[in-house]
Symmetry: C2
């Protein structure tokens, strides 16, 4: 429910814009677009089909180009960059902070990268190269090397004078970092503390160390996000293995990470990439989805081959063919519920060897209860439909058994995938439904052969 | 991949703790627990089965109780509160900020609420009652009324003196809010600006108004979150319809909203509530899932009744029964992919009437391409398996048609649900698979009857 108004606002912008575009009056479109924040422009560009997208992109203020590029998925970003000439790309890149620039660099043509590097002064170039030397999705890539540092042996008024002399501060500066002569991280002081303290107070008496451990430059993006969430940070220092201060990560990057994780989990369950453009070209979209559907086709053949073993039985009791999708489908649905809880638990680190057994035992009992209750309903309807009590008992037993298999698979498949080093959000669903289809068909048709044919 | 280390860290804590609990030595458990942040303790409690959970809960420092309760889901929270006596609950409640206390209030017994209100001074009680008067999931409920305000007609040094006199500032104070005599919101000044400005500079020359519109007290949580995301805010003012400043929302609450939205989307697709306790009692868990499985059972009957219409056909060509789950299942998988993209697009406001047609046309073409390619593969295997060219042509045509139905349903089902006022994340999956099952069986068995029986 709560999503409506956001949706309404963005959809409203989209409608206004589409109407203006359709009418061909580009003046109002340009004015509308440039009242939006760069994040909103990014969102809007993602909602436009290629033709309109490139018209609107041409109308965005050049000075916003860089920021907008940061706010769209990889695939849309590529399509936007492809429409810019080299000078425009260089100008957009130059407008960005170092950490944002680093994020953009991967998608730029080599020639443009050279141009951008050439246009920077030596200090910034070296900093950028340092950031780019760390692997993607690590603290090193996320950090901004542009930080305000102070020494521990000065007093508050010295720091205040230094800040006034320096002028502007980087965005989201809530703390200054205190470093040693060798640039080792010693602790932080909040702007609040600076504002509230006596001018003569020495900085080393105000250090705030134990509350905020520094983030190692090798920490993963997910680690960074969970640290920020656990401690309600606005910004945090990043250090190397010798505790040398390298840069700073801010909450706005963390919010982006959390959004991406969420989209990854939602889309990878359907075998999709979170960077997919809604309007990506048909052949490309088809090719990507084909891989996933191909894997599903292979598992469907496996399930069909199980049914194939019971051709004789089905020929004699056609009702089994009519009812078998129910048994398989109910197993799939029940297993998916267990799986959804497990995938969340694994992502939050709430599921491990120490509680897996308890969880499994709980889910088995839930499955048994549901099997008994829903199975009775199913058996009743089948009895009325086919007037065959043996058939209704067969489907009752088969449903209970398949729900038990589903609960086992729901718990064990994601645990096993995780142990083998795979992403449980991505592949669990396929394995789970393979189990519930194969076992559903096997148990139902097997029981049917045993009981109904004799 | 990136999730591993978070998982590893939390799982490591969980293992250590479980071992210590199993050994019965509570001293080390207590020490371990109280080195964690309140968010980590919450996460840990959620991962423990009821017995261990209540032991660990008893060992948490009383002063952290309130914060920990905020960091667990509703269901776990109820179970924790049920184990506290009244004095403990009152003490926990008193340790919280007003906005956090408001969040907790809903879950407290009436008697405890009275106690808590009695223990507060009049000003805070009135503020709390004001916060509680707004509906859940709105800015009014999320805001903290404890804000620092200054007047526009003073100078920087007056503000600085006032701040030193006042002492501490509320957490995450990055801006002060400037108000009129009647407490109307006029704008904000950053702490950074205060630090960098000349002492004699008047506040009204430093006002930062256009960058930050105030949030209306009636805005939904989702709106608040998207505003913060779009503008990279740390904190934002909340005003009523007369522009009177009521309170302030901070980024840490927004991060929680985003997490909840993400969990809602991931779990509601499986018919689950994001506040479900992994270890909730078996009867309760079974009852809740039964509703969802019951709905699925009804749709499964619908699909089975379609198959039932073709009993005669299946009796003559049993291969149709063997292969029909492939056609239905492939449709379900392809449709789920479209659906996942649509649900994301709707949540972000990227899909509306103005681009739905373009999307539909794109998805139809993707379905056609995949149907042609994967259908050829499927037809080839079926030909080899059953040595029946007519059967393989029937399944080829049926697959293409069902993938087309799947793409239509994938686009239209969530749009229709949204238009009717339902949450597309919750119910789309059931409708979609009903379409793909029913149409898959109907088209395949129907074509089979027409072509193979004559």
């Amino acid at each position: 429910m709560a999503e409506y108004s956001r949706q309404q606002k963005a959809a409203h912008q989209l409608r206004l814009l589409s109407e203006a575009l359709d009418s061909g009056r580009l003046g109002p479109v340009k004015r509308l677009v440039n009242t939006l924040s760069t994040a909103e422009i990014g969102n809007l560009l993602e909602s436009l089909p290629p033709g309109k997208r490139s018209i609107v992109w041409g109308l965005v203020d050049a000075e916003d180009d860089g920021e907008v590029l940061l706010h769209v998925g990889d695939e849309v970003r590529e399509s936007l960059i492809a429409e810019m000439d080299q000078d425009e790309i260089v100008a957009a890149a130059e407008s960005l902070d170092l950490d944002d620039l680093a994020e953009l660099m991967e998608d730029l043509p080599d020639q443009v990268i050279d141009e951008v590097l050439k246009s920077m002064d030596r200090e910034n170039r070296e900093r950028l190269e340092q950031v780019l030397s760390y692997p993607e999705d690590t603290a090193g890539r996320l950090m901004n090397p542009d930080v305000i540092t102070v020494r521990a042996d000065v007093t508050v008024d010295v720091v205040l004078r230094y800040l006034r002399l320096r002028g502007e501060m980087p965005e989201h500066t809530d703390h200054l970092f205190v470093v040693s002569r060798r640039h080792q991280y010693l602790g932080r002081i909040s702007l609040t503390a600076l504002l509230l303290s006596e001018p003569g107070r020495p900085i080393n008496q105000m250090l705030d160390t134990d509350e905020q451990p520094a983030i190692p430059v090798t920490a993963t993006a997910a680690e960074v996000a969970s640290q920020f969430e656990d401690h309600d940070w606005i910004s945090a220092p990043v250090v190397d293995e010798n505790n040398i201060l390298l840069g700073r990560i801010t909450i706005d990057d963390v919010v982006d990470i959390i959004r991406e994780q969420a989209e990854h989990q939602a889309l990878s369950a359907a075998g999709l990439d979170e960077d997919e453009d809604m309007f990506s070209p048909v052949p490309r979209a088809a090719r990507r989805r084909m891989v996933w559907l191909g894997v599903n086709l292979a598992t469907a053949f496996l399930a069909a081959s199980v049914v194939g073993r019971f051709e004789d039985t089905i020929e004699k009791v056609v009702a089994l063919a009519v009812l078998m999708p129910i048994v398989a489908g109910m197993g799939g649905n029940a297993g998916t519920q267990v799986l959804a809880l497990m995938v969340r638990g694994l992502a939050l680190g709430q599921v491990g060897a120490s509680n897996a057994k308890v969880l499994l035992w709980k889910e088995v009992r839930v499955a048994l209860l549901n099997g008994l209750a829903l199975g009775a309903l199913l058996a009743g309807v089948v009895w009325l439909w086919f007037d065959d009590i043996a058939l209704s008992l067969v489907i009752y037993a088969a449903l209970i058994m398949n729900l038990l298999f589903a609960s086992l698979a729901g718990v064990l498949v994601p645990l096993t995938l995780r142990r083998l080093g795979f992403d449980p959000a991505l592949a669990s669903g396929i394995f789970l439904t393979t189990v519930t289809d194969v076992m559903g068909f096997f148990v139902f048709l097997g029981l049917g052969s045993l009981i109904l044919l004799h």
